[in-house]
Amino acid sequence: MVLGKGASSSLSRKMVDGVENMVSNCNDFTVLVVDDDPVIRKLHDMHLKKFGLRAQVVENGKKAVDLCHFGTIFNLILMDKEMPIMDGVEATKELRAMGVNSLIVGVTSRDSQYETQTFMEAGLDFCFEKPLTADKISFILQELNKKN
């Protein structure tokens, strides 16, 4: 399931068109993976490597906020929802309040619609169920290309 501003039903058509352009542009994008689960961090990092991206990884929302606060800029932030210290909802709200304009994509376990909606309203651009797959990352990167 994809929730998002402008999520399209023509996902597969979008992925076929312009895939080569997407991959060749990827090396310039900076990515932050925010997740307290080391398995997910490794998995997402590997998925991103396949698209030529190197990600920074942190284990909670506060570390993500601190990085951005001290001036690090990311084109894409993959944000888990449930994390200790600062969860994804809180972190996303803080990042948007700071003026962070990155594409922020929420990654959640199968939560209630209400919880996912709350996460979206915090300022996400899109929200996906875990785990991310190559198809979902293709979609995200196409959106990133459009934004940039």
């Binding site: 689960d37 398995v39 997910i40 490794k42 590997m46 396949k50 449930e82 376990s109 875990k130 785990p131």
Partner: protein, 161 residues
């Protein structure tokens, strides 16, 4: 070539049995597809992280459920939620399914139900760990045979010249 085919067949059959018996689902296949020559140990590394994570989370759940003063079901649920997430990501289907039940008992604040689920999740995790370790032990044998065959091909070319 016979030896290679045999080993490959054993590996494929064993992998298929893990799927058939519900130990792993398609997500595990996706992990195997991510592995390449630049990250030849990717699946083993992810599985190792998962095993470490499992043990830590199972211990957390056990400690929380042991509390005589009153079980903090939110704390138990948080650990179960995390285990459900990582088991789903690695494709550990049976572990994930126990976690789904486990969460219902946490929500209902049913200590007996939670303890039963803890026992089940511990059992499923141990089984899976043993099965995956067997699978991973099959892989080096295949790689060793490939190396031997490649070197034989090299020797054969030189003798033709």
């Amino acid at each position: 070539m016979d030896v290679v085919s045999q080993l490959q067949r054993q590996f494929i059959d064993y992998s298929a049995s893990l799927h058939r018996e519900g130990f792993v689902d398609d997500q595990f296949t996706q992990l195997q597809k991510l592995q390449d020559e630049n990250s030849p140990d990717f699946v083993v590394e992810v599985a190792s992280l998962f095993f470490e994570d499992c043990e830590k989370l199972i211990n957390n759940m056990a400690r929380a459920l042991e509390q005589q003063q009153g079980v903090d079901f939110k704390q138990v649920d948080a650990s179960v939620h995390q285990l459900k997430g990582s088991s789903s990501s690695i494709g550990a289907m049976r572990v994930k399914n126990v976690c789904i039940n486990f969460r219902s008992f946490c929500e209902a604040q049913n200590r007996e139900g939670c303890l039963r689920c803890l026992q089940q999740v511990t059992h499923e995790y141990s089984l899976l760990k043993s099965k995956l370790q067997t699978l991973f032990r099959m892989q080096p044998s295949m790689m060793a045979v490939d190396c031997v065959l490649l070197s034989l091909v090299g020797l054969g070319n030189r003798s033709v010249v």
